[in-house]
């Protein structure tokens, strides 16, 4: 197998080429994690701490008739049982969501999805809390549920949100982008038009650590300290101030080590609020940690888009236009996490990597009796759906035109000289060299040879498929005039302090959940200042300690916070320059920078290192006019645009003709995220995302039966790839920097999750071509592949 991705030497082993800035270095996080010394929410123990547990609804849609908590309260270890009625009295029964809707914290009127929060028990330990749940008697009056989004707007569909004044149906929003008339005109004149319904089924991010919190309300000081599994601690602080009415300076959110987020831990869940209420009511710290079933059934799902796609082209394969109408199932409350002006996220990037004449999309969101969510699981705000749609449609077009899918893509790519490229739905792509990445991917795969092998196997009746996908991502939200979350502009702060001895602390507004920020952000400072990364501590996740910003999701850390950190380091460097000039008794404009040192132009021997300057900045020397000491700085970075990383993926599958079992034999991923801060960490991010793709394409789904029972509510049914289902990944890269970013870096974390599902499904459909299959929906389980082989492919919902 060709492996072009180069894994450079090991710096910790003393390699001479150890990078001071960018490059492969070992993670600063690892020493604690490999010793079991990480500090996750459920590891936290506070004096007197109590444990909370949530009673959840067993049905999907029902009037709440009564709750009897007498027996639970009589349990000797139970301190409190909180119901919706109690919360109504505190004005906390409903909380605002990230989509300007409201979500019930505890049921007050009726249940709207199975697994919804009904009551909260606070007890001395987690076993007693669970025992007490069994002692609560609830009477429900069943209502017919709305499960199929296609039927949500039927005239006789039950009204789910009768709590919302004036609401007469289950419609949430209608939203569109692009020019409908122009697109219609291009479609009308096209040689070839292909239409296909493409469903992206409901899945779940399922981080290994579930959601949880420890709330500690100090009645004397009025201060709330809330340890939470949150990807956005500062946004949570503001929302808690709004929800709970506690002044914002009296709220400290701490996001400790997080056992994976994947978008699951962006929003505020009822459990967090209940832990706070429990702490206020009992006067003790209260811990709430959900179990896996609660996580899968009640926290943010992902996807659930039913997309009607249409693609128009000339008969020689020039793609002209794309059009789609989407039905979006948002569950019972619209809690989708995305910028305020983007109810369908960044779905309008569905024009993909192609130079089109026209494009138009419309998205309709509806309520159903399911858990809320939608934007999660490395989707970059619905880019997973957008990329999946366009890459399926291009493949279907290739089949229709009898063209090779790689050739069709190469023919239609936006060319390097067209960047910055304004697409037809309002995005300005920053940079790209798509053909270079595509050709590298094909070279690594041995594409021509694979096609020959496939032809031979087909002769023998063996099912081998080759799937190609090329994606353009859009990450790094974003410019504050366009993007906000509940009114908070999506800029990010950074603070940098260089201590007298030249060691540094950098404080971030974003929050790692495993992506390696403690390492890579130190590398950015190291690159800019020449201080070795091991001498730089990265602080994040504590709102009392870090500057304001919007958190980590949408692969926005490198684009936004990474920009902030580079700029704050440059601010320090400029300050250091003035101090160095005074130390060297020369003018600042006579100085030149080399990594870690200012020196006099033409006299390299006369210079001051950043360490020497730091000591001087804190010392007794007379500093230049306007410099009052220390070597610190802070910035807020409002990015001018998002970043648009891209990638060329090729997947090879073998399908057992007897059972329909799909084996992913090879996966080649070429990614381009511009400047690469740490290739080792990038590779790990890509591997993880590719595994997400295998999961979604082959096995993951959250389904419901007609009664609204969640059928994917545990790891017995919600299947996630193990080491046995994934191949040894083959990764490569090209480097096309973002021209507007301070270090030319683009986000990468979600690219592989976005790009891999279409590559795998394209491969499966390619393998099934002898059966006349032109499309099948995920997950491509053996049973569903078998049905497709019999000519009966069915949508998953």
């Amino acid at each position: 197998m060709t492996v072009i991705h180069d894994r450079p030497g090991n710096p910790a082993a003393g390699d001479a080429d150890r990078p001071i800035g960018y490059g492969r270095i070992q993670r600063k996080e690892d020493p604690r994690f490999v010793r079991g010394k990480g500090h996750y929410v459920d590891d936290i123990v506070l004096p007197g701490m109590l444990h909370g547990a949530i009673l959840r609804a067993p049905v999907a849609h029902a009037r709440l008739v009564s709750i009897d908590t007498t027996n639970a309260l009589a349990h000797p270890k139970v301190l409190a049982v909180i119901t919706g009625k109690d919360l109504l009295a505190l004005n906390l029964a409903w909380a605002p969501t990230l989509s300007a809707d409201v979500q019930a914290v505890l049921v007050t009127d009726k249940v709207r999805f199975q697994g919804q929060e009904v009551a909260f028990v606070v007890a001395e330990n987690r076993y007693a809390a669970r025992d007490a749940l069994e002692l609560i008697d609830v009477e429900y009056d069943l209502l017919p549920p709305v499960i199929d989004a296609r039927k949500a707007l039927d005239p006789d569909a039950p009204l789910i949100r009768d709590d919302l004044e004036g609401r007469t149906d289950n419609r949430i929003f209608d939203w569109e982008m692009g020019d409908e008339a122009e697109t219609e005109a291009v479609f009308a004149a096209a040689d070839v038009v292909v239409a296909q319904e493409v469903v992206y089924p409901r899945v779940h991010p399922a981080p290994m650590e579930t959601c949880g919190a420890v709330a500690d309300f100090d009645a004397v000081s009025g201060k709330l300290t809330l340890y939470e599994t949150t990807q956005a601690p500062h946004a949570h602080r503001t929302l808690f101030a709004i929800v709970a009415g506690i002044p914002e300076h009296k709220i400290r959110i701490v996001s400790p080590d997080i056992g994976g987020g994947f978008g699951n831990k962006v929003g505020i869940y009822p459990g967090y609020i209940l832990a706070v209420v429990g702490s206020i009511v009992t006067g003790k710290p209260v811990k709430w940690v959900e179990d896996r079933s609660e996580n899968l059934m009640s926290t943010s799902f992902a996807r659930d888009y039913i997309m009607q796609g249409e693609i128009a082209a000339t008969k020689d394969g020039k793609i002209l236009a794309l059009r789609t109408s989407v039905l979006a199932d948002h569950g019972a409350f619209n809690a989708t996490a995305q910028p305020t002006k983007n109810p369908a996220g960044f779905f309008s990037i569905f024009t993909g990597s192609y130079d089109l004449k026209a494009a138009f999309c419309k998205v309709r969101g509806v309520y159903t009796n399911k858990a809320p969510g939608g934007v999660a699981y490395a989707c970059s705000f619905r880019v997973t759906e957008a990329v999946y749609l366009v890459e399926r449609m291009v493949d279907i077009l290739a089949r229709k035109l009898d063209m090779d899918p790689a050739e069709l893509r190469l023919k239609n790519f936006i060319r390097p000289e067209q960047f910055p490229y304004a697409n037809k739905t309002g995005w300005v792509y920053d940079s790209g060299n798509y053909e270079e990445a595509m050709r590298l991917s094909m070279k690594m795969a041995g594409y021509e040879e694979l096609r020959r092998e496939q032809a031979e196997k087909r002769e023998r009746g063996e099912l081998m498929g080759i799937g190609v996908a090329f994606f353009t991502e859009v990450v790094g939200a974003g410019p504050r005039k366009h993007f906000d979350i509940v009114g908070l502009g999506m800029a990010d702060g950074a603070e940098l302090r260089v201590h007298p001895t030249g060691k540094a602390v950098v404080r971030l507004s974003v929050q790692s959940q495993g992506q390696g920020h403690e390492t890579t952000f130190a590398q950015i400072v190291a690159e800019e200042l020449g201080i070795p990364p091991e001498n730089i501590d990265v602080v994040h996740g504590d709102t009392d300690q870090t500057p304001f910003g919007l958190g980590t999701y949408g692969s926005r850390s490198t684009p936004v916070s990474g920009g902030a950190v580079a700029l704050v380091a440059r601010k320090v460097r400029e300050k250091a320059k003035l101090i160095a000039a005074a130390m060297l008794e020369t003018r600042p404009e006579d100085l030149e920078w080399e990594k870690g040192r200012w020196f006099v132009k033409g006299d390299p021997g006369a210079g001051k290192t950043i360490e020497e300057i730091a000591m001087a900045a804190h010392g007794t020397m007379t500093l230049p006019e306007g410099i009052d000491g220390n070597l610190d700085a802070e910035v807020t970075y409002d990015p001018p645009n998002l970043t648009f990383p891209f990638g060329a993926y090729i997947c090879v599958v073998d399908i057992d003709a007897g059972t329909g079992h799909v084996k992913v034999r090879r996966f080649i991923a070429v990614d381009d995220c511009g400047t690469r801060i740490n290739p080792m960490i990038i590779e790990g991010q890509v591997h993880g995302g590719l595994t997400d793709g295998v999961g979604m394409a082959l096995m993951e789904i959250i389904e419901f039966d007609e009664a609204g029972n969640c059928l994917g509510g545990s790891f017995m049914d919600y299947l996630i790839p193990t080491a046995m289902e994934v191949p040894d990944w083959e990764t490569g890269f090209t480097v096309t920097p973002s021209p507007h970013h301070p270090i030319g870096a683009k986000g990468i974390g979600e690219s592989a999750t976005v790009g891999s599902p279409p590559a795998i499904v394209n491969a499966i459909v390619d393998a099934l071509a002898p059966f006349g299959v032109v499309h099948m929906d995920m997950p491509c389980t053996p049973a569903r592949v078998w049905e497709a082989m019999q000519g009966r492919p069915r949508p998953p919902i």
Binding site: V34, R35, G36, E209, G259, M680, F715
Partner: protein, 186 residues
């Protein structure tokens, strides 16, 4: 609920407690002994973040009662390093980027240790099979396989080839708090 007296060896130390019979080993280890490196990621015995070694065999401690472990020898992630020297498996995970969020890592490393004790030179498929009862959401597994291979190739561990890690483990890291007569709140 009535309690019972149990004792077992954890990372070489004798521990004894009064606990309820229903207490899961994972909760005993985390909440009574305070060894929180062992994690809890599901409720159906699928994820393996709770894997510890019981008499050298990997077990999912969420599916073992603490009472069932009485009299047995338990090893957790906190007992992998000895006298301040990392186990080669721990070093391997750092060398080959076999971890990201770190949540599955302790269980993965203990399974790897058990595998290498039995089979010092496993091939990639044997490694994948050994860890197939465990889920990782971050790494995509390939770097975990490399990490275990690193450990196999460096049985003497970190000292010979690699600069010492920047954090020295205190002797207390492997010591277990005195929990005799601790009343388990369960």
């Amino acid at each position: 609920m009535s309690s019972m007296q149990i004792s077992m060896t954890v990372n070489g130390n004798e521990v004894a407690s009064d606990i309820e019979p229903r207490v899961l080993l994972v909760h005993y280890i985390r909440e009574v002994l305070g060894l929180t490196g062992t994690h809890w990621g599901c409720d159906t015995t699928n994820c393996g973040t709770c894997v510890v070694l019981m008499d050298g065999q990997p077990v999912k401690s969420c599916t073992v009662l603490a009472a069932m472990a009485a009299g047995h020898d338990i090893r957790t992630v906190e007992g992998l390093a000895t006298a301040g020297t990392l186990d080669p498996v721990q070093q391997g995970f750092m060398e080959e980027h076999g971890l990201q969020c770190g949540f599955c890592t302790p269980g993965m490393m203990l399974t790897a240790r058990a595998l290498l004790d039995k089979n010092p030179h496993p091939d990639d498929t044997e490694i994948r099979k050994a860890i197939s009862g465990q889920i990782c959401r971050c790494t995509g597994y390939a770097t975990i396989v490399r990490s275990v291979q690193w450990a196999a190739a460096h049985p003497a561990g970190a000292a010979a080839d690699v600069a010492a890690p920047d954090e020295v483990i205190e002797g207390t890291d492997t010591a277990v708090p005195d929990v005799a007569d601790t009343e388990v709140k369960a």
